[in-house]
Symmetry: C2
Subunit: 215 residues, 2 copies
DNA sequence: GGTATGTCAATTGTATACAGTTTCAATGAG
DNA sequence: CTCATTGAAACTGTATACAATTGACATACC
């Protein structure tokens, strides 16, 4: 096995394969419903079937692929309903994050939140749209950090990836608008107003939903 | 390979291994922190390392074991905080289920809910404690069915298993009391009162928490 | 002509073999 | 006595080989 194509060794290959496949799915290289044959993928990524298998099964748990015994894996197809179900869950959990953040935040965490938020607002006003996605995830990570619930943060992370993918076709750039909503969350968190924080976070996700779905 | 010990063939061995291991962990046969060596498990369950590996990685995603690269898997150790974090999440999601159920239920679903609830109340009054666990999960499954959000139902299912495990040592039998709380949820669902349903469900989980933790 | 059946290719499920790391203990030096 | 070194054992990560099942297509039968 000379010069493997993906990430460096000894972070297990399966991990590299996992992210590689997930990226390929999310970015649309593999389209929904498409069959994912283990050996084909193995050839393509230049590893043996073992790591591929593991990655596929993990992706099945995460929900990106569906596996039927003896019939193999295929990229998940999302009905509108499933996507909406996901969204409702995220709405709820994002509200929880905001509430917890309001209750538990330290002054340090509040400071970083403010910083990220200001940066985001500045980038939005300056139309530096290429920076907005990473700032956006940065904001939500900071909020999750303040909420201090690792499990919740991980859940939300995969969920938001899935939602992004599920609604990919309909996304209109609204990353600029969202920073005013971010600010509202930060203000509530600063005031330790749990109810307001939760409401603001839910409004935020709600608006994203409207932008994605277009109703 | 003559006469494998676990479930019948052609539901993949990995699936059988998965549930077998999870049961063993939850029931305390493997204690928190204990190392889970692939080959030992393979010998014990009379399969090769392949299925064991897969099952372990899936359990890692579910949160029952932790895997460090090149160092193997061990049963997760739960801090009090992590358990509480889990509980908060469940509290929120269980509330969401009740709310959705109140909004979306059909008459049929309401009928089954009522049936399960009556059965549970009867069993509780008759002190038939051995029937209560399955009736309890039956009730929550029926509620999830009415809520009509598969993803949410699956999430909650694993979460409740984990919580049961995490607090296992402290569980006091409160399965009898809980049926009055169940009834309150059903009434709210019947009246299509989403707010009341959500509140009742959260009260229910909250009480379970108190019983588990003992504060 | 339509349905049942048999055969074959494709693909997954499982086992085994080997290579590379990590761990742990014994040994030796300071 | 403590700490670093080194060697071997244990274990994981990966590859390859084989067995078993499925699905499709062709063929035979009613």
């Amino acid at each position: 096995m000379p010069e493997p194509k993906l990430g460096r060794r000894h972070q297990p290959l399966a991990a590299a394969v996992l992210t590689s496949l997930r990226d390929a799915i999310v970015s649309g290289i593999y389209s929904p419903g498409q069959r994912l044959v283990e050996e084909d993928l193995a050839l393509e990524l230049e590893v043996s079937r073992g790591p591929i298998r593991e990655a596929l099964h993990l992706l099945a748990v995460e929900g990106f692929v569906e596996i039927e015994p003896r019939r193999g894996a295929k990229v998940s197809v999302f009905t509108r309903k499933q996507a909406d179900d996901l969204f409702v869950m995220r709405l709820t959990l994002e509200g929880l994050v905001a509430r917890l953040a309001a209750e538990r935040r330290t002054e340090d965490q509040l400071r970083t939140l403010r910083e990220v938020c200001d940066e985001g607002l500045a980038a939005a006003e300056a139309q530096r749209t290429e920076d907005l996605p990473s700032l956006n995830t940065g904001f939500h990570e900071a909020l999750a950090d303040a909420a201090d619930n690792t499990l919740l943060a991980e859940q939300l992370s995969t969920m938001s990836t899935m939602i992004q993918w599920a609604y990919a076709k309909r996304i209109r750039e609204r990353l600029g608008d969202s920073w005013n909503e971010h600010r509202a969350i930060v203000d509530a968190v600063a005031a330790r107003d749990a109810v307001a924080a939760e409401a603001a976070a839910q409004r935020h996700v709600q608006n994203a939903w409207v932008a994605y779905v277009g109703n």
